[in-house]
Symmetry: C2
Subunit: 251 residues, 2 copies
């Protein structure tokens, strides 16, 4: 399959490498700045382009991996092409493409991507949506070539999945961050928390998170919570502590 990547960020990088490794042909990597595009293009045997007029118009698939708030503008600027257009965004409906294309869809990888971290792509759940049965089939086949976890999911559901992922990933990471800030001020290494962090994540692989809840809030231990608040100097961290404790305690 001949693929053009629109965008060269974290998602594009991981997806392009996985597709390249499975034998797909990455024809081009386009990015408006050009810089990252060259880096990624070199890794997957593709050409790097930085102008819309330079985009090859005869690929089978155009994968739009750009920031959510840039997607509309990028779609408007795209030249007419053959093939299918698909984006990779959790919260954007596939209908963003409808004024420009008939065969379009979504491949949403439910994972957090950082450039420097290698990932086993075959374990990443991919969620497919398409404008026609043939498009769905096409995107599903492509998805199955790189992952064992492929699901057809309409956009109405996908946006809830994306919302849930914000809690389970982005907000979780922010909790790690606040805890690292607390330790930094006391010169205690964050690495001491690693067994705890691993076990907390491992637990919810087997129990549901409601049952797994521990700590002063769920025990209604007001004294410990009061003492904790006294230790927090930062008003923002105090607010987070209070609200989440209350949320844990709410029925």
């Amino acid at each position: 399959m001949k693929i053009v990547f629109i965008g060269s960020g974290n998602v594009a990088t991981h997806l392009a490498k996985a597709l390249f490794a499975t034998g797909h042909m990455i024809m081009q990597v386009f990015s408006r700045s050009g810089e990252n595009a060259t880096l990624l293009a070199n890794e997957v045997g593709a050409g790097a382009v930085d102008g819309y007029h330079l985009i090859n118009t005869e690929a089978d698939l155009y994968l739009f991996c750009v920031k959510d708030d840039a997607l509309q503008e990028v779609i408007l600027q795209m030249p007419q092409t053959t093939g299918i257009w698909a984006h990779t965004a959790g919260s954007i409906p596939m209908s963003f493409f409808s004024s420009r294309k008939e065969e379009y869809g979504v491949i949403y990888p439910l994972q957090t991507f950082s450039k420097d971290r290698a990932l086993v792509f075959t374990d990443i759940p991919l969620f497919i949506e398409g404008s026609t049965p043939a498009t769905i089939q096409f995107l599903e086949n492509m998805a199955r070539s790189i992952s064992r976890e492929v699901h057809i999911l309409p956009g109405e559901k996908r946006r809830y999945l994306h919302l849930a992922a914000v809690f389970a990933c982005n907000f979780v990471n922010h909790m790690y961050h606040l805890s690292s800030e607390i330790l930094l001020k006391e010169d205690i290494p964050f690495s001491l928390l690693r067994p705890l962090i691993e076990e907390t994540a491992a637990k919810v692989m087997e129990m549901n998170p409601g049952e797994a809840q521990t700590g002063p809030a769920v025990r209604n231990d007001e004294e410990v919570m009061h003492n904790h608040l006294m230790l927090i100097a930062d008003q923002r961290i105090k607010e987070v502590y209070t609200l989440i404790s209350r949320s844990i305690q709410s029925p």
Copy 2:
């Protein structure tokens, strides 16, 4: 070493089993209700007792593993004994013992304990504090018999570690819980999030959480955040979404 456990909850269970497995003698397990005590006592070859007057007064170590808000009362009720008294609570100063004992201290295991989950105890960091150099030495030796991660840490520092653990474990688990509530309403299985949850935890084993942050808040993607808020029916979850997003964005 001859050990008496005061309390028979999750911490007592895991600690007693680890100590028993290393060859220590668990003489008794005391609990006010008696019920759990019998269960645990049977597993570690100990006697179960439910009255303070039945506690053997000639052990080397009395380990107080009771709820934080019960500790003071339990200490008052304890008979005079030989040996060392130590508690396992993150946020309680060791001085709670000072009116009753001269040799006392703390062994704080930094982990989340559920009865039904087996844990590799040797990986759990244990934090030691003691009222005298000999007490510290004694508790350190005992701790090293069950864990490779033993640290001497004064109570002033320990309470910050405990506070940080609330963020990195209890609050993290609540984020998992809120995400599972969002998915439940949409009939989407929580298990789909597992690779994401694992990777989010794995990332901060290698990068610091500040660098690892992804998602709409750190990208300042106001439109996605606005759309997410529109999807959340529950006022409490809305508040959490708003506050944490703002906290991620704050400098």
